[in-house]
Amino acid sequence: MVPATETVLVVDDEQGILEALADLLREEGYRVLTASHGREALERMAEVTPDLVLTDWMMPVLDGPALIERIQQDPVLRTVPVLGMSAVDVNGLKRLHPGMEFLQKPFDIRALMKQVRRALDTNARVRGG
């Protein structure tokens, strides 16, 4: 359990997955925001800058790649780490987006939590210099 000081934004169009992920992360002590597509995620981030974005790849309205592009173009958000997640073979996505970290659906919950933690710690170290 971590103190609820770190905020994770979860973006997924599949309602069941979105809610399940949010519950799991809250149980781990994170503060969780949710959005069902990229545009909604940008609206959330206009209010609160999260410490990590966990985003699905295939979504309506604004998909994962488009969301990441917007985040990288935004001077405030560009340092927020992003973890992609997809039901599609993520090895193919990694080749298309080198440098991005991906989670393969369906998730292994422990691996998911480890990867979330690692992304947050890495970012904290980078920010801390």
Binding site: D13, E14, Q15, G16, I17, S36, W57, M58, M59, P60, V61, S86, A87, V88, D89, G92, K105, P106
Partner: protein, 490 residues
Amino acid sequence: MSPSEQHPPAFERIATGVPGLDPVLGGGLVASGVYIVVGEPGAGKTIFANQLCYSQAQQGTRCLYVTLLAESHSRMLANLRSMAFFDASQLPQRIYYVSGFRMLEEQGLPGLLELLRREMRNHGAGILVLDGLVQAQEAAGSSRDFKKFIHELQVSAGLSRFTALLLTSSVGPTVHPEYTMVDGILELRERTAAMRSWRELQVRKFRGSASLNGTHHFRISEAGLEVFPRLETMVSRSQPPDWGTQRVRFGVPTLDAMIPEGFAAASTTLVMGPPGCGKTLLGASHLAEGIRLGEPCLMVSFYEGPDRLLHKTANVGLSLGSAVKDGRLVLQWNMPAECNLDLVAHTMLEDVRKRGVKRLFVDGLSAMVETTNEPARISPFFAALTQELRRHGVTTVFTLETPRLFGPEMDVPLGTGLSGVAENLLFMRHLELNGRLRRLLSIFKLRDADYDPTLREFLITSQGIEIQPPFQPSPELLLTGIARFPGNHS
């Protein structure tokens, strides 16, 4: 007509990628049509829709798959990965999965419709699958709202040139009045009788062209869906060609001598008799003669497997093994249980067309007759099958088991329907005479040819079948299996 004048576009067809389905639909789905696929959970709707998407993606068409409270995309893809049609390289560029449930929950049918239109446009997709139409139906405020949704989707499909499949579980009546607005309704179902179940597809409605009526079997395997159109609906209504005076022979000199001109090419011969009387060897002789003449041959069997058959025929001097090895003879063996008539016919006719088969031997027709789940179809099925074989110029021998080994009664299984459509009928039976079991053969009927109608004993030797001179005992009870030599009344 000036060059600028525009014609109404002809119906473009979308291949479904499901073997056997396009012929049922008269050539495929009509482009820009909206189709409902209805069926209980597990009926195969999701596999069908995905098979269509992957097939279309192979041809460069982009597809959008929208779910509404259906199984998760990761679970769906995990299930699809074992399917032969699944191609991970199409994801996510050409096949794109999204959920529309949240939009439906928050903004109802207008929000869902907007999402579908926008996503189809954004992805430049030509195929839309909406998986879970029943959710949309439940979210509709009224039947009128649901009809309006379908109508507006149809308008969008027409304007934006996409073809839509709407998948829905059937609850209550399988076809709701609202569904009548769409361009086609395909129903998938599983039927059960006793402990046996099978899958059926029926085209309930199809605008744009005629479709094959009634139900058609389909199966789901790692190859995906495969439809086996009901044979009776597939055969050509036109007369088969006249094969003229072409004649064929069994290749058994003493038997051929009973039919001096030979029997008609492309005809159907039914050999009936009890187990062990030599029917299989007679049919194998028919094939051996074809192989000798260089004709492509096919054997379809139900009881004896290929190895056993080759061993058995080799023992009587019929060497079929080399013809199997070099492809002149193909052996198709079917389990003698739970026979699917259309699957057997499809496999058989596919080889007939592919290799130009000229001689066919179907051994153990009783297995088809006794294990089909559609006994009422047997007669029209065989009429259609023999018609199609005749059309391809295939000279066919069928064997059919009669149940009684001995006795004063003869069982001719007329109920199979084949005895009515076969041009040639040969009857074989056992005869017990002076403590010795003998085999008898007689020709009951032969189309367009003179034949020797005498009853003959025949022997099975290491050299094959040998027909003996006309049988001498008193003929009065010969066909009953109980014979007497003249003067012997004991």
